[in-house]
Amino acid sequence: MTPVLEVEDLYVMRKGQPVVHGVTFHAFRGERVALMGASGAGKTTVLRAIAGLEPQIGGAVSVCRPDVFSVADRRDIQQVERTPRIGMVFQFHNLFEHLTALDNVCLAPVHVGGVPRHDAERQGTALLEQLGVGHRVHARPHELSGGEAQRVAIARALAMKPLLLLMDEPTASLDPTRRDDLAATIRDLSADGTTILISTHDAPFASACVDRVLVMHDGHVVQDGRPQQVL
């Protein structure tokens, strides 16, 4: 089976110094993978590099071939501006503050995907309902709780039908009940074929919802295995 995500010998540079060293791993369709490790281990940086948000990387990252990025030590950030089929849910959600929840979800399908607005709104409403925030479609981001904002951010990422969903510290703003709900949502998404890569500190959460754990330390992957083996 061809992996959805292939990361080969990934290096990320910050101010001329490598902060991620030769990370290599694959993830398959519908697989749920957690990147774990202490703060500063490089988990979020790997996610950002895969999303095309790190300007200085080396190695190769590809999502469902052909390559998302060409192999180069220094690349201009503009070259990776349009990254296909990757969705990302940020730790602080990064919702567009001037738009309602529904408009946050519909903006990319309409303007990037070319979906007619009416269809985008119907699909966006369905996504928000599916994620339990259907009653908040007209709320602005500052009116949402942390959990609601996160589900709107997930809906926004899913609206572009990504093959790979990246989630950065998704449980950081959730209470235990919401954390269980999120684990269930992630399982449902992967059942539909979405590959999910999560950066997290939260071992119980990872145990509950991922198939595989990569443990990072000081920019290196030091362990790779099933949760019950690694955690």
Partner: protein, 493 residues
């Protein structure tokens, strides 16, 4: 009475009395004039700019000598001379000040000491067709604001459809006539001679449009000093000292002996009364000036709105160039913004209207629009740049991951939020621009403040015109501030 007041009251009284008595006790006659008026009135001596020369300087010395004092010059802008005389900033004003009924009604005015003719100056090629104001129907005729010539032009506007254009100085009416921006200039013959001398291709008509007199002005309470000055002037008319002064400045002509003969024989030269200069009550004047003030307010508002629209467009382009552009563009735009912000708006208006006139002759309104728009664009660009940079970077990263291009991110994510942040400072800027639009009167656009100053000069008081002007500015700016607040509130809901 509190102890402080008990001590303060005599102290203030002492200051008031001592300041007016000071010049007498110090043996000086403080006389006010505007050295920008230039030769032959008052100007800095070309050989020694620290000195002033001119026939008014000689008249002042004549008067000071007659009073047994030394003349000391006080520089006052021409349009402020009446108000400064009334305030007591100097004892007598001498600066080519025209006799008028309105002036006589509110100040102590000396007897006339020079008679002049209001002369129409045209381009030599037009000498045959523009002989009188009646020939200039629908044509632009330049003059100085708040002068007899301006009053004559207002009458000609009513009677013949002449379009009066007011200037703040007497140099640019003639240079603009030579350039073709106006079709004639109506000013006194002293200024006309100088204008024709400096600008080849101009000619002055010989038939005078009106006759006026130069007088000295004093505060109304200085009538006693005015009477002493009149005695000195009469003696100087009789003994030829005034004639000597005017001969020295090549201003002596046949009109002066006739004037002096009327004055020295006990008669007076009646002020030339154009109908608009007739003394009326302040409230009548206010009613009479209201339509022109409203029209001028409309010009201020239109000019400000169009300038702001230009400033917003240019400012947004500059800010976008600075945030998104390559380094050389960013450096060039930064330098441009600093150049515009670092130089006075007044200078920029002069350069656009007068400085570029040999290359491109912009109509005054367009030059004002460009000057204000370009100047404010520099400030707007800084606001927009700050607002663009204030949109959290996380949202821009989210947009990038979602597949938006940079232009889409700007249009759909960054700019709408930046606009909300910029709205309050933009409103402030618009109100500031509305007030700064008063500066464009230097390039002949008669907007609200200019019209008010003409009104104030004619009635000799700033109280009612100033209040009316303030009410009109507030009526224009307050609804705008309210609208902006509502919009801002709506966006934050």
């Amino acid at each position: 009475m509190s102890p402080v007041r008990r001590w303060a009251a005599p102290f203030v009284l002492f200051l008031l009395v001592s300041s007016s008595a000071w010049s007498q006790s110090s043996g000086e006659l403080r006389w006010g004039g505007d050295a920008e008026g230039g030769a032959p009135f008052v100007e800095a001596d070309p050989t020694d700019p620290a000195r002033i020369v001119g026939f008014e300087v000689d008249v002042a010395q004549l008067l000071a000598g007659g009073l047994g004092r030394r003349a000391r010059f006080v520089q006052v802008g021409f349009t402020s001379l009446d108000a400064a005389a009334a305030r007591g900033d100097f004892e007598i004003g001498l600066s080519g000040i025209e006799d008028s009924a309105a002036r006589r009604s509110r100040l102590a005015v000396t007897i006339p000491y020079y008679e002049f003719r209001e002369i129409l100056t045209v381009r030599t090629a037009d000498g045959a067709r523009f002989r009188t104001l009646a020939d200039l129907a629908g044509r632009r005729v330049a003059t100085l604001g708040a002068t007899l010539a301006y009053d004559l032009l207002l009458l000609a506007e009513r009677d013949h459809g002449v379009v009066p254009v007011t200037y703040e100085d007497d140099v640019h009416p003639y240079s603009d006539l030579a350039l073709g921006r106006v079709d004639a200039v109506l000013l006194d013959e002293v200024l006309a001679k100088r204008g024709v001398r400096r600008n080849p291709g101009l000619t002055s008509q010989t038939t005078p449009v009106g006759v006026g007199h130069y007088v000295g002005i004093l505060a109304p309470q200085n009538a006693a000093l005015r009477d002493r000055v009149n005695d000195i002037l009469r003696r100087a008319m009789a003994n030829g000292r005034l004639e000597a002064i005017f001969r020295r400045w090549e201003m002596w002509n046949d009109d002066q002996p006739a004037l002096y003969s009327r004055i020295t024989s006990g008669g007076d030269a009646a002020p030339v009364v154009a109908s608009t200069a007739a003394p009326t009550s302040t409230w009548d004047s206010a009613l009479r000036y209201l339509p022109s003030l409203v029209k001028a307010a409309g010009i201020s508002l239109l000019l400000s709105a169009l300038s702001m629209a230009l400033a917003v467009l240019l400012g947004a382009a500059i800010a976008t160039g600075r945030v998104y552009g390559p380094k050389p563009i960013e450096i060039a735009l930064t330098a441009w913004v600093e150049l515009i912000r670092g130089t006075p708006l007044l200078l920029q208006l002069f350069v656009i209207y007068f400085g570029l006139a040999t290359v491109v002759q912009l109509p005054a309104f367009l030059a004002a629009l460009l000057g204000l728009g370009i100047n404010y664009a520099a400030y707007e660009s800084e606001i927009y740049r700050g607002a663009l940079q204030a949109v959290p970077g996380g949202q821009l990263e989210a947009a990038r991951v979602l597949g938006f291009s940079r232009m889409q991110t700007l249009r759909l994510v960054r700019a709408p939020q930046a606009l909300r942040l910029a709205l309050a400072p933009m409103t402030n800027d618009f109100v500031a621009l509305l007030k700064d639009s008063s500066l464009v009167s230097v390039i002949t656009v008669v907007e609200l403040t200019k019209q008010t100053s003409i009104f104030a000069a004619n009635i000799g008081s700033w109280v009612v015109p100033g209040a009316m002007c303030a009410v009109m500015y507030l009526a224009m700016s307050l609804p705008l501030a309210r609208f902006a607040r509502r919009l801002e509130k709506g966006w934050h809901q």
